[in-house]
Assembly symmetry: D2
Homo-oligomer: 394 residues x 4
Amino acid sequence: MNRKLRMGMVGGGREAFIGAVHRMAAGLDGLIELSAGAFSSDPQKSQNSGKDLFLPAERVYDNYRELFEKERVRPDRMDFVSIVTPNHTHFDIAMAALDAGFPVMCEKPMTFNLEQAQMLRDKVSKSGLLFGLTHNYTGYPMVKEARALVASNSFGKIRKVVVEYPQGWLSTPLETSGQKQASWRTDPGRAGASCCVGDIGTHAANLAEYITGSTIESVCADVTAFVPNRQLDDDANVLLRFANGAHGVLHASQICVDEENGLNIRVYGEHGGLWWRQEEPNSLHLRWADRPRETLRTGANYTHLSEAARAATRLPAGHPEGFIEAFANLYRNYARTLMAQLEGKTPSTLETDFPGVQAGVRGMAFIQSVIRSSDSDRKWTDVPHSGSETRSEQ
Amino acid sequence: MNRKLRMGMVGGGREAFIGAVHRMAAGLDGLIELSAGAFSSDPQKSQNSGKDLFLPAERVYDNYRELFEKERVRPDRMDFVSIVTPNHTHFDIAMAALDAGFPVMCEKPMTFNLEQAQMLRDKVSKSGLLFGLTHNYTGYPMVKEARALVASNSFGKIRKVVVEYPQGWLSTPLETSGQKQASWRTDPGRAGASCCVGDIGTHAANLAEYITGSTIESVCADVTAFVPNRQLDDDANVLLRFANGAHGVLHASQICVDEENGLNIRVYGEHGGLWWRQEEPNSLHLRWADRPRETLRTGANYTHLSEAARAATRLPAGHPEGFIEAFANLYRNYARTLMAQLEGKTPSTLETDFPGVQAGVRGMAFIQSVIRSSDSDRKWTDVPHSGSETRSEQ
Amino acid sequence: MNRKLRMGMVGGGREAFIGAVHRMAAGLDGLIELSAGAFSSDPQKSQNSGKDLFLPAERVYDNYRELFEKERVRPDRMDFVSIVTPNHTHFDIAMAALDAGFPVMCEKPMTFNLEQAQMLRDKVSKSGLLFGLTHNYTGYPMVKEARALVASNSFGKIRKVVVEYPQGWLSTPLETSGQKQASWRTDPGRAGASCCVGDIGTHAANLAEYITGSTIESVCADVTAFVPNRQLDDDANVLLRFANGAHGVLHASQICVDEENGLNIRVYGEHGGLWWRQEEPNSLHLRWADRPRETLRTGANYTHLSEAARAATRLPAGHPEGFIEAFANLYRNYARTLMAQLEGKTPSTLETDFPGVQAGVRGMAFIQSVIRSSDSDRKWTDVPHSGSETRSEQ
Amino acid sequence: MNRKLRMGMVGGGREAFIGAVHRMAAGLDGLIELSAGAFSSDPQKSQNSGKDLFLPAERVYDNYRELFEKERVRPDRMDFVSIVTPNHTHFDIAMAALDAGFPVMCEKPMTFNLEQAQMLRDKVSKSGLLFGLTHNYTGYPMVKEARALVASNSFGKIRKVVVEYPQGWLSTPLETSGQKQASWRTDPGRAGASCCVGDIGTHAANLAEYITGSTIESVCADVTAFVPNRQLDDDANVLLRFANGAHGVLHASQICVDEENGLNIRVYGEHGGLWWRQEEPNSLHLRWADRPRETLRTGANYTHLSEAARAATRLPAGHPEGFIEAFANLYRNYARTLMAQLEGKTPSTLETDFPGVQAGVRGMAFIQSVIRSSDSDRKWTDVPHSGSETRSEQ
């Protein structure tokens, strides 16, 4: 194609967390541009959100029905729609999108219950339209490498799987404070049959099935709501049996105080095993019966990482963890300062927090002094005074 | 402003690493769009690169002079230019950009030598145009938190600083193989007075000055080229003295085998200290004389992180490390598969590697089974068969 | 008392692992000396083992019955007996010891089955003799600190416990090779009802009960023998419910390839939680709802560690992990070299591997040179040549 | 030999830290028994210390001269003497011991200055008596493995060495509080030319020379006393050049707040490198140019560890770190409780903190329940009530 794909979005208005993640992720590789949206069930909030995103007012809609109706007849109509609304609305929106002929990228869990999920599957099948679900943890390069290692039988027959997803954000009755995320996720009417299992237990199950290439056949579960008066579960301990004969343990929790997003998995086979954890995603730890422990690293070139892992990697080894985001912080602040200048405004000190020309001078002074010291018999050498290192001094 | 900023780029054609990083970083927050570029000194390569980026041919130029000349007279002219070429060309391009009235974002090191750096500083000063330098490691939230903690005197007077930047990629004479990065970085004619100190030693020095809020006043250096026949240094050990009275050690190396991008810093004051390392950027480790060790985490809300750290954070705690990139992998594969479909082509198995509707059905089946097991006296319960977990089965 | 306690031992002959540990542990604090023993069911092996331990032949016995019979009538009779034989013999030996009037220290598991355990409990109760069981993992200072923190309600009501004990040494049918440990541990006639649960699952359960101060009330278990033809289990996944209302997961395994001795526990309460793992025993990681993560360290003096933790600590912070053993390696080699000299033999190069006087000269030369360099304006200074650093050059 | 070696000790009275370590280390392997001592320059304190150690009064002496004089004529005279006094006294005591014909094991630094060191070396040489120096960090198995790997040229020619020894205990003017260790170590009259370099810098230098098998040829040092009014240094940053051509950095400090005993070393050669740190002594991290990172572990049997490393290892993999000490805590408490019982006293609750017969019953109950659950279709099963898990309930 000679143009970017045009994406529409349902949900993801101001203050929504996951909608912003979807937009950043969609835009990262320069293949997709946001072109339209119904960002909130509140039309005014939808318009305001569209303005934040520099969309023309005509392509910001009051609700998803209007979005589908009007976009489908535009010559520059959106190519697909991203659905990032609360769980209980996914089904209706996805069905409507497919009816209108739009491919769908959908936040998980896909639907409110299994019945809806099966109906949606059938609809997708009939429509022939592309459907994606953001089980995003399978996007990590080392998760793909893990899957490839299991698939190539590196560890022999898989025997045991331990997958954990501890979080702590629902340790207190946060939902009674009106916090938006907590409110709908603990509400049976909007979240479905489960809070903890539905929100994060599914990620853990999906990760285990993705890496092992097998499926969970039966479960024995102890699911609990620890916080008084909570209507849905905030903790789950589950014994697992897999189709490939492996046994396992899955536990997920939202009441493990101060755990952030601790998804991790261990898989043990006859001859070796692996360990991966989401909070340190660029390392894949391998265990072997007959040789020392190894650590594979995203982007490494000392070994033949799988094609899938390499395709999922943008940066050389040692760079990936949040590197782009840190880099983007400089660009964002630069952009905001420049926007302020163009509009004749004074940027804030937060906005001017990026290195400027003075930092460049200091850098060159440092290099020169170091080389001079070393060249002059490694003697102590003064660094030419060149101003402070303060930020973006212009 | 009611539109995104328009960015032009010099350098960053096909195969360039850092140019792609600049583009991803620039686009991440939806404030900047790439509008023009001279991506290579080879006009054909520049055109091809522009096509990859979906730019109209008329805004892809043969060289930076043409870029500045033609863009300056367009009504939709670029708002600023990003310079991502090898070191020795930064000065000329930046001077020309400023002469043409364009604000500049420049890769580091800023220039070839100190003299050029000082000339450029004077030019920026006279022009009044915004200038940014991508000392990107200062963009991390926990680096900003570290700086804020030192500035607020949390540790008392700073006594000792240890900053390290070990890499291993130049352990062998890679430049003799024709590898592009190695070739120009070890060439005195293109890299300047130093390879290791110029490329990464400056990052370490910049980080130390940024966090301590002080400046390095004198150095004693032992700089070496370990690889036979290498013309520039690949290792540097440096003793430091800071303006604030602190003493320190800086060592940087490109011959520390298998070290990836191990930038890290320790700062010790009278009452406490800190440790941060780039490969685990979301943790800031604190040491105290009178209480247990603490670990601050990006996005944490149990404590009052500094305004600067919070402003640099996009995601809740536990998510940031490469999370967006992993998420983007799903979108990229979805986009490529959709593009293939729209063009009547068959997507590759790498491209169809994203979860689809089947994964959604499995997720709902898993939730239902877990809840059923727990509700039925925590008995073993079969998970309804719902197909394999394979990718994007449609 | 004005003398050390005299310990007898049953089991622990040549090649036995745990017997040697018991002797080193018993002797560490200078309170106990080994005085007698029946070290093997093979009388000759018992005598040889006694000789290795420098015991007089008259106090090395052919079997435990002789040990108890003859020791009870000596004026310098042993004060207690340590039982370090395979599981199935503990009961008979302990009963006989108590009958003979000797206090007992016993390896775990205490007996072959629950019935025996209850009989032994009654016997101990009637005899009034001191009985100890080496659930050694509760001996770590930070385990005691963990218990104290839970007991003082630092975390509020305990909600969730995850305790793991992965090992990998039985991943293969090691018992078929005749390896002694593997043979009796997988033999129902000698190990009892279980291999994995009995050997290490009990340690995990004991640790969980010790730290939480509560008891496990019910379990749901999936216990497996993964290695073909193995008669007892080598893996166990267990859901737990505690008397205090906490829910939990316990998994133990001997088929987790290359896991060494990975006992670890996490405990989460309403306001905080803890994490401890045996392979890094001097750190206790704390999690809090309202302040940064903390790490408590054995021997730390920045905080008021519990009396129990302090009483269990011999060394200042940072020293304990294997420090005494490393130190002992010097003494052992020194002793062996000296013994060889006294006997007119030539010590081996392994035995002479300890620093000698030359190392002392080098140390002083280093100090002098460093101080001279710093005093002479921090100039480069040669270190006086003083021979190589080789070991125990005499 | 058919008996243990008899050790005398000079220094190491009550409250001394390192003397107790020497005794525990000396006794660990059952080769050495403490037989005599002059434990303090205060005769009464020497006697009291001897009593604590269960020595007969006649072999506890008032000073080292008396010790040497009287022991030399006993038929059961001590075989060697361990010197654990402050630095400035080592020389005189060691000379006197050698004059009296006793082999010596000496705490480091060996003497007060280089001149004394050289005199002592000559004396040792003439006497033909065995001399040991407790550079204890070279006693770790993984340090020996590291040395063996360098010696076997696994990494190629060594290029760079970074060795660090950060501590924090002298961050404040502790010596003004009368703390004994701080007082003499910062006193030029007792410690020698240096505090930080002499106390810990030498350990770092010794470790670097031991592992590389090379010697430090020249240094450039920045040595500082950061704490006001301190007479000796508390921090040192040193550039190094080795005889084998390697360059290096050594920094040691006693003002790095909350650093405990952070000795660590990195060594990089042409093809690979290693990293070891004392606070996690059982792991040796290897880096390779052509294969994944590896971690060697003390006691591992998946690989052929060097003979020296294996000879320095007492326990299987995963056990060594402080395991013996934790185990010893059970024995110590058991011994103290038994001693109290034998003397008709009531042991304290700290002393009775060890598992007893009740713990054994609970263990068997746990095993039985787990196996029953699994055998009965993996159903929930109650654990028979068997009392609390409290300690040493008799």
